[in-house]
Structures are given as structure tokens and as C-alpha cells.
């Protein structure tokens, strides 16, 4: 058994970071071979569901690299990406996977050295964290399902609207020409991330067979009362419906979300 060699996926923007990586090569700057680079036109292209999907397939770490603020070829794609990654980390934290496995950094076309350094440090960090619970023969089923729920939550309109509007709301001001403070926004985002994750988790759990509030409460490690409250919201959004009643226990089943 050799030393653990993590598998790291790097999403690099075409204009700055990819060029930076090229420069590292031209300059023969050495860095660990663990990274597999995927070129994208802009870091902003990295939809939150992509890293989640990549983690589900067993990656030990993900690096998203984009232009420094102000340098973005597409004006502000990188800044939007920053908000997405923040939300993603909140979401990942709920799944049981270490959010540190995901990292966003700015690397310019002239920073070959910095590129190598970022990769080296991140590889070290991931080595310390160890193998992803989703890699290998027996991926952790629970975290896998949680990631699936997180992915669904990240596809849902609520999170997408909030993340998409964060910069406008906190920096430029909202429709009432008021700025939403960063703390206020982050606490709201935290609440929504948590609620959406739980709802999609419940949705996944009840997809295969109807479950009771109690069973769900155990599965998601929440108080039954809190689960009931989420089920009420899910009913309102037609994510779930009452399936049947056994004795005094109602069982709920997921509805197909359109």
C-alpha cells in the first residue's frame, strides 16, 4: 500500500487560471500530479450542481480557479462564482462531507508560481483529510444520498434565486433601494440552505417507499415536530403527499417534482 494519492479535479477558467497553469508548465514549475484539469470558459460556469456531482463520483477534492476580481473576461463571472461556492460549502457541510474538500482561488495568467503553490497546498490539505468517503469500493451511502439531496436543493429555484441575487442585494441595493447587510443575507441564506436540503432529503427518502414522520426524523436526525413542519411546506409545494395511514401513523410519499 502506497501513500494515499488524492484525486483532485480542477475547474480552470480559460482566460486567467488555465493560462496560469500553462505558464507553470512553460516555466517548468513542479507541483503534485494529483490534479486533473477541466477547462471552462469562465469560473462562473461552474453551476453548484457540478461540484456536487463530481464529489458523488468519488473525487477527493475540487479546486475552482478563476480570474482575480476585476480581471474577469466576462466582467463579473468570478464574483458570482464566489457566492455560489459559499452557498455550496454551506450545503456540503450539511451532507457530512468536509467542505474543505472544495476550494475557490484566484489565479491570473501570469501567476504560474502561484498556481503551483495553490495546487501543492490543496493536495497537502486533501492528503491530511484523507480519502473521500465516496471513493473506493464502498462509498458511504448516507453521504452519497445527502449529496444527491444537496444537488436537488441546488437545482431548486429558491437557492438559485438567492445566490443569483446576492451581490445585487448586498452591494448595489434591492428594489427598495436598500442594501441588505451581509450578515442578514448570510443568515437568511443559511436558513434557506438548511430547509431546502432537508426537504430534498425527505423527498429522496420517500421516493422509494412511503415513510412516517418518526422514521424520517430518525433518518435526518431531527425532531419529529420539525420534520412535520417541513412536510407541511413540501405539501404546499406539491413535493410530497399523504400516502396512507397505518394505525395512528400517516405515511408520506414523494411526488414527482416538475
Amino acid at each position: 500500500m502506497g501513500e494515499f494519492e488524492p484525486k483532485i479535479i480542477g475547474f480552470l477558467c480559460n482566460w486567467c487560471s488555465y493560462a496560469g497553469a500553462d505558464l507553470a508548465g512553460v516555466s517548468r514549475i513542479q507541483y503534485p500530479p494529483n490534479i486533473r484539469i477541466v477547462r471552462v470558459m469562465c469560473s462562473g460556469r461552474i453551476d453548484p450542481i457540478i461540484p456536487l456531482e463530481v464529489f458523488m463520483r468519488g473525487a477527493d477534492g475540487i479546486l475552482v480557479l478563476g480570474c482575480h476580481p476585476g480581471d474577469c473576461h466576462y466582467v463579473e463571472g468570478n464574483l458570482y462564482e464566489e457566492r455560489k461556492i459559499k452557498m455550496l460549502k454551506m450545503l456540503i457541510a450539511l451532507t457530512g462531507l468536509e467542505p474543505e474538500r472544495l476550494k475557490l482561488e484566484w489565479v491570473s495568467a501570469s501567476e504560474g508560481q502561484r498556481f503551483a503553490q495553490v495546487v501543492t497546498e490543496f493536495t497537502e490539505q486533501i492528503k491530511k483529510l484523507g480519502r473521500s468517503p465516496l471513493s473506493g469500493e464502498k462509498p458511504n451511502q448516507k453521504i452519497f444520498e445527502n449529496l444527491q439531496a444537496a444537488k436537488n436543493a441546488a437545482s431548486d429555484f429558491r437557492l438559485r434565486v438567492l445566490v443569483g441575487r446576492e451581490r445585487e442585494l448586498t452591494e448595489k441595493g434591492n428594489v427598495y433601494e436598500e442594501k441588505v447587510s451581509q450578515e442578514e443575507f448570510d443568515s437568511l441564506l443559511g436558513e434557506v440552505v438548511e430547509a431546502e436540503f432537508i426537504r430534498h432529503k425527505i423527498h429522496l427518502l420517500t421516493k422509494t417507499k412511503p415513510l412516517s414522520v418518526k422514521a424520517l426524523a430518525e433518518a435526518v436526525e431531527m425532531k419529529p415536530g420539525a420534520v412535520l413542519r417541513q412536510i407541511v411546506e413540501m405539501r404546499r409545494r406539491n413535493m410530497i403527499a399523504l400516502d396512507h395511514v397505518e394505525g395512528t401513523t400517516p405515511f408520506y410519499k414523494a411526488l414527482e417534482v416538475g
Partner: protein
Amino acid sequence: MASKKIGAVLVVGGGVAGIQASLDLADSGFKVYLIDQGPSIGGVMAQLDKTFPTNDCSMCILSPKLVATGRHPNITILTNTEITGLNGEAGNFEVKLRKKSRYIIEDKCNGCGLCAQKCPIEAVDTFNEGLDNRSAIYVEYPQAVPLKFMIDREKCIGCGTCQEICKANAIEYDQKDSEVALKVGSIILAPGFEPFDARLKSEYGYGRFPNVMTSIEFERILSASGPYGGLVLRLSDGEIPKKIAFIQCVGSRDFQLGNNYCSAACCMYGMKEAVIAKEHTPTKLDAKIFYMDMRSYGKEFDAYYERAQGEWGIQFVRSRVAGVTEDPKTNNLFVHYVEDETPKTEEFDMVVLSIGMQPPKNIETLAKNLGIKLNNYKFCETATFSPMETSKPGIFVCGAFSAPKDIPESVAQASGAAAKAMSVIASERGTQVTAKEYPPERDVSREEPRIGVFVCHCGINIGGVVKVPEVVEYAKTLPNVVYADANVYTCSQDTQKLIREKIQQHKLNRVVVASCTPRTHEPLFKETVQEAGLNPYLFEMTNIRDQCSWVHMHEPEKATEKAKDLVRSIVAKAKLLKPLKKPLINVTPVGLVIGGGVSGMTAALELAKQGFEVHLVEKEKELGGHLRTIRYLLEKDDDPKEELNALIKAVTENDKIHVYLGAEVVDVYGFVGNFKSKIRQQNGRETEIEHGIVIVATGAVEYKPTEYLYGKDPRIVTQHDLEEQIAEGAFKAKNVLMIQCVGARTNERPNCARICCGQAIKNALKIKEISPETEVYILYKDMRAYGFKEDYYREAATQGVMFVNYEDERKPQLANDNGGLKMTFWEPVIKEEIEIEPDLVVLSAATIPNPDNKRVAEMLKVPLTKDGFFLEAHMKLRPVDFATDGVFLCGMAHWPKYIDESIAQACAAAARATTILSKPTLEMEGIVANVNEDLCSGCRICEYLCPYNAIEMKEKDGKPIAHVIEALCKGCGACGTACPTKAIIMGHFTTEEILAQVKAALIEVKT
């Protein structure tokens, strides 16, 4: 006096009382401004699941009234609005209002709801009592009127999503609050009540224990459209409870809290909730109600109480609950109470607190702004003989704000307040309203059907699922369709214009709209086609949104096919549509009032004040009825003798009122607007009169007891006898014993006679006043001192009146023991048989129906209850109407009641009658039945089936033929369906039309 009167009324509060008052005023030719603090009308009734004692679905009966209010041309609804100031006097007020911003342009919002679907922010849903969430942009409930969304500014983060999604451009983020000033002649206050905050009763654990909830939360839980879809669940774990405790009088009859009064409706709603919970629960549910007195005093309420115990198996425990504790492991609850002087504890899965009514929030500000007095509980101050008058002339009150009360009493009082508000400005009727004029109708009888089809995208509500262009193209291929097109919003103003243009351009003579629900939008489109010169019944509508795109969102192909089927089907019907005439009937602006007691006299006077002639017929030789036996009042706020004399004087001196004493109505013919009746006086003289309406106010009589040696011993009297004795100074007794429920709540007459508890307390207090040393015992089953009467009950107890509870199993025994009276009864507190020797026994004899009711009912063809009182059209929302149009009832003819309640109902009957008498002609609904006389066999099945007496038999060529009185027909079609010879044609829903619709819906289309 110099200021001019204004024919408009301000109604404050959009609950069921405010709605009823508004409709009555608007239907009588007055302009109404209905304001509410909230974003929509409906009040607490909109939150209820079912209503007692009929277990009717609350929304089913309320929502037609909501829609009628929303669409009434004489009613302007101002939501989110509060009064900020008042100037002027009765007849001419200037009211200042502040309308809070909705951040939505009301004229543009069409209620499609896309914004709420895409709003990322959730807020606590107050309509569902916080049991679920809603979006930050919302309507209170799906049937809300006006159906205009509103932004919850507290919660909204201003992301702008709603503005992007709103195709109607209705969002206005910079909308400001606005100030409005209105000129009105009178004002009606109907602000309702505030539910008691159960947290203040901390010993019951509300707010601490998840499975303790309030009755209003429980209503939402019971509701099929509530958070749990109508299934009763525990908040702690989502399990269905097996055992529920209901605790009564939470925040009512509570001296410590200062809420001494009884909230009047909780006993019944508690019972109802227990019954409905059992009905909604798939497993066996035990329900136990902890109460102090079961106050089921209303019409047939005791029958409900009986059924609750028998049929539904609900248990009742007479006890004030001391406290509730929780098992933190199971979240089950322990109810601690005392029964038979023994402390007991019982475990339950859930506890429901029957919370009382409190005065509305911020009521003192409103009272100050308006200059009206509040009573010591901060409800509106009123008096027995002026139950709708506030302390300020021209301002009237109705509903729970005058005293806690249930829905039918609020509705009756609301109509009564409408009468009072109208009488201030009767001279200005019709001055603030304008009748809509339409162009002359085009004759289409000789034209081939030329159908225009308008298919609505409803933003993306329909268009996002159903392929609207495909439906339009398909519609064009249908027979007789000469025009079809799609609209973004068919209901928008510019589309109305377009529809009118297309009617002209393409010579359309039938119009079909495929969009949302006709229940809300049909009247709008009918108006539009009428404006284009078409008969409004040449319009039809099919629902491809609520019943298609919204319910088949994931099946666009199938939804499109269904939409095509629906269009094909409605076009098939449209082809057969015939223009219908709305029958006009003349109205004789004269009233007939049967009965000259306080109700009859009040009704007659109110009608006269509205300017109508009235015939008042009294069987006795003098006016006054039951009121003549009342010598003093419990509340002591008015002198009944003085009031009676004033009333008689006002009636006899009013030259619009014709009084017939010692007279009876012996014959009534005709129908609403056109009655002919015969009045026979005792001297044999008969008078024929013509009139437009009838008000039945025949009162009730005192039961002559056969129990307790009554009539066999002069020391045994009724409450009325006692009152007479006291008033005449003949009262000397030192030891008085009163027995409640004599002739009421028995097997023979199972219901409560309502007023005897008040009478007993009144007389007991009077005895203590004139002879403090006299011992008074009151033996009762439940002391039903509801509302503010509870104060007097408490006072009597404080003054030493002994209240002793008895049960049917252990009725008190009275014997004549060698000339002395001996009364034996069980004392439940000390658990002993007690024997006393009273020198006066007072029987609280029931008030029973007037024996004449049967004759009057048959004459008027109106129904009676099992007990023999008159039966109104609907127990909840039409308390003074009969199902037969133009016939009304009030006072004790309806049920035993106190004077203030009789007066409220009498005014109500007058207001309801005025909605008819104020119109020279009545325009009836055009959808009525018609008889093909050649086919009619005269079998009378239809006559028997019609619930409105709208079918009469007429002789034709020597045989009886059914004839529809269009004025009375409501268009349900029950007669047509039953007719064996198919002689009855139901306008707009003819058999041919319905079958064409069915046939077309079932055609297999090859695609």
C-alpha cells in the same frame, strides 16, 4: 341641520358582519365603502372549517357572499385601511382614512399567483395560524376577495423576482401609503374580535407544549385546505391523536384575567370541533370536553349537544381545569382537574383550548378617533333597546364588537345595523349610485351561430403547460367557430375592448372564453358581451386553468388534448345557447308585519323610516306582546315600560303604519313584490291589502307548567308571575327557590329556552335588592348567562344567591307536606340530599312556540322546526330570511330571545325587506325554469320538489298545468330533472345543451 345628507355608508371591518351589512345597504340603493385593516375580507369565518349546528362547510357558504361583495357595483372595498379621523355629524360625516401600501397595483393584479410560486422567501402564514409558511408575496387564502397579491414588506428582501415574473406589470415597489377622505352619511362598525392570547393562561402550557393548541389553530388543522389537509395531527410528532381534551372558557369567565364575561360561542364551537375531529380521524378518537356550564342556548343547539354525547360519543366533564403538564418523553399531556371534589389527572395526546373573544386590537384608538364609548371590557357600549346604536348618533355597531356572539347573531345584527344606517339617510337613497346602461340588444334569432373563441394564456399559467396556439388552431376548425385567438390575459381591460371589437368585426353572436373559473370571471365577460349588444346568456366559459393546466403540469400533451376537448365541448353547448330575458317584476312598496310585539313594532317602524307604508297586524287588542309582561331589566339600562310606551306611541302616530288590532291575516297570495292578503278583524271586517313583503313576528308564549304542583298551589309561580309580584310590591317571601329548565331540555322539548337563566338571575338580584335577608336558591342544569350576562351571574352569587346544580337523573322533588312546601334536592358539592321549606317556588318556565305558528306557516308556505318555531332559509347566514323570497322573520317567532336580540332581528328583517321594497322593479336571474304547457301532464311532482315554492298549478283548458313563478325560481333545475314528461326546460342548462356538451367531450379525435 344645514349640512346636506350623503347617501353613502362606511362599513368598518370585512368579516361576515361587515359583509352582510354592506350587501344589504348596497342592495337598497346606497353606496358602501367597506374597509378592512387586512389585505382581504372574510374575517374569522374564512378560517373556520365547519360551522355549528349544521356542520356546514364554512368556505362553501361564505365564498358566494365574498364574491358578491367583491363584484357589487355599489360597494367599494378598501383593504389595508384604517380610520385616522372623523368630522361632521350623523347624515354628513367626513372620514379620513389611511390605506397602507400593498406594493401591488390592484387594478393590474389578476391574482394568477405566479409571483408567489417563484418568491424565494418564506414567511409565517398567519391565516393558517402559523402552522405553515407562505411566500413573502401572498394572498391570505385561495378564495380571498379581492384576489390581489400583497408584499409582506417585513419579510421581502427586495430581490425583484416577482416583478420579473409578473406579466401583468402589477408590482410597484415604490408604492406609498395613501390618505383618503370620504363623505358618508352613516357608519357601521364591525371590527370583530381578537382571539384571546392563550399564552396568558400559562398553566395550560400553550406555547411551551407543542401538543397544546388553540381552537382557532385547530380549525385550520381540521380544514381540508389547512396545513395538514384536514387530518388531525400532533405538532410534536405528526401522529394522529387517540385522545383529545378540549378545555372550555380559556380567557373567558376568568376573574383573574379581568375577562369576566362569557364568550358565548365557545361551548358550541368546542363541541363542533370535537365532532369534526372524530369525523376526520380514521382511527378511534376519544374526545373529552372540560366545561363549567354547557351553554348551548341557541336554536337547536341542545339537540346538537345531545347528538354530541349520544351519536358521536363525546364525553363531557363539568370541571374547571387547574393545569396541564407534559411528559417530555412522549409529549403527551396531563390534564389536572377536580371532579366530585376529588383531584384527578388524565393523560391525553392533544389538548385544544377553546379561547374566548376579546375586543379588537387598538380599539381604543378607533373609539377615540370616532368619539364612541366603550364598556368596561372595551367592547362597544350599547343598551337593551338600542343594541346597534353607539354613543354617537349616526354610528352603529354589529357583530362581536358589541358583545361576543356567534355567526348568525352577528349576521342578524349586521342587517339590523344596516337598517339603522339607512334610516339616517333614507332620503338620499339612490343618489350616490349609478345604474349601468347597456346598448340595445341585437336580435340574433335569425342568425346562424357565429362563435368567437378567446383562449387565455393567463401569463404562463395556462400557456406554460397547454399549447395555447394549438388549441386556438383547433378551435378554428370547430363547426360554427368563425373567430379564434389567444390572449395573454383575457380578463384584462384591453382584452375586454378587443372582445367587443371582434364581436362587431366578425358579427359574432356567441362568445366562448377558455380561461379560468366562471365562478369568479363569468360576470365580467357577460358584462363585456352585453356592452357589445349581445344578450349576456350568449356567453359561455370553460376552465382550462384551474381544472387543466394547473392540475396536469407534468403532462403538457395530455393537458393540451384535454383543453381541446373542453373547448370543443363548450363550443357545442354555445352553439345551442339562447338569449334569456332577466324577468322584471314590479314591486308594491308596502310591507306587511304579522305580530305587534316589540319585534313587529320595531320592524314596522324601521320600514316606515325607510319611507314604506306598513300594515301591522296584531292578534291581541293592544300592542306590546311579551314585552308587556317585562317590568324591569337585568341590565337596568332602560326602563321597559317607558320604552314600550314610546314604541307604541311611535307606531300609532306614524301615518305610514296602519295598525290592525284584534286582527289576523287569513289569506296570503302572490309572491315577492306582489302579495295580496286579507286581514280579518274581530268585528268581522275584512281588509284586502297589496304588499311587496311579509315579516313574521308572531312571538312565542310562556309554557304553562304541569310539573312541581304548578296551578295547584299559589306559592308556586313562574318567573313572570314573580316579576309581576315584585313590580306590584306584593313580594314578601323569605325563602325562595327557583327551578330552571321547566318545560325545556326535556324529552318532549329537548332544546334550551335561552332566556330563563337571565330571568332567574334578574329576579334573584331584584329580590336581594328589595329584601336582602331573603334566601334565594336557584336549581339549575347549566347556568347559561352568556355574553356580559355572566357579570350578573357573578353578582348574584356574590350577593349570596345559592346556585345548585342538578342533573336529570336527580331532579328536585317538591311535595306539599301538611300545608308546608318541602323541596328535596341533591347538593353535588357536599354530596348530600338537602331538604328545605321554601315559602315561594319559582319555575323558570320555557318559552314555547306560538300555537298560531302552524296556521301562519301553512298560509305563507314556510317551514317550522321540529319544536314548532319558524325555520329560516339558512341557520348560519340567512337568519331572518325564509327560503321563499320576500318573506322574513324576526323575534321570538324564530327562537326565544332577549329584547336586544329581538330588536336586532326586527331591524334585520326590515333591512332585508328594504332590499326588495327599495326597488321599483326587481330584476331576477335569467336562468330559470320554463314549462312547455303542451307537454305538462299536471302531475305536480315539480311543485312538490321545488324548495322555493316557485311552481304553482294553473288551470288551463280544464286541466292543471305547472307554471313557474320566475320571481321565485333560483334556477337549480331540480324540477326539470324530475319532470316525467320533460315539459320543463331549464334556461342555459337545457338537456340538449348539457348532452351536446357531453357528446362533444367524448368524441375521439384522431391526431
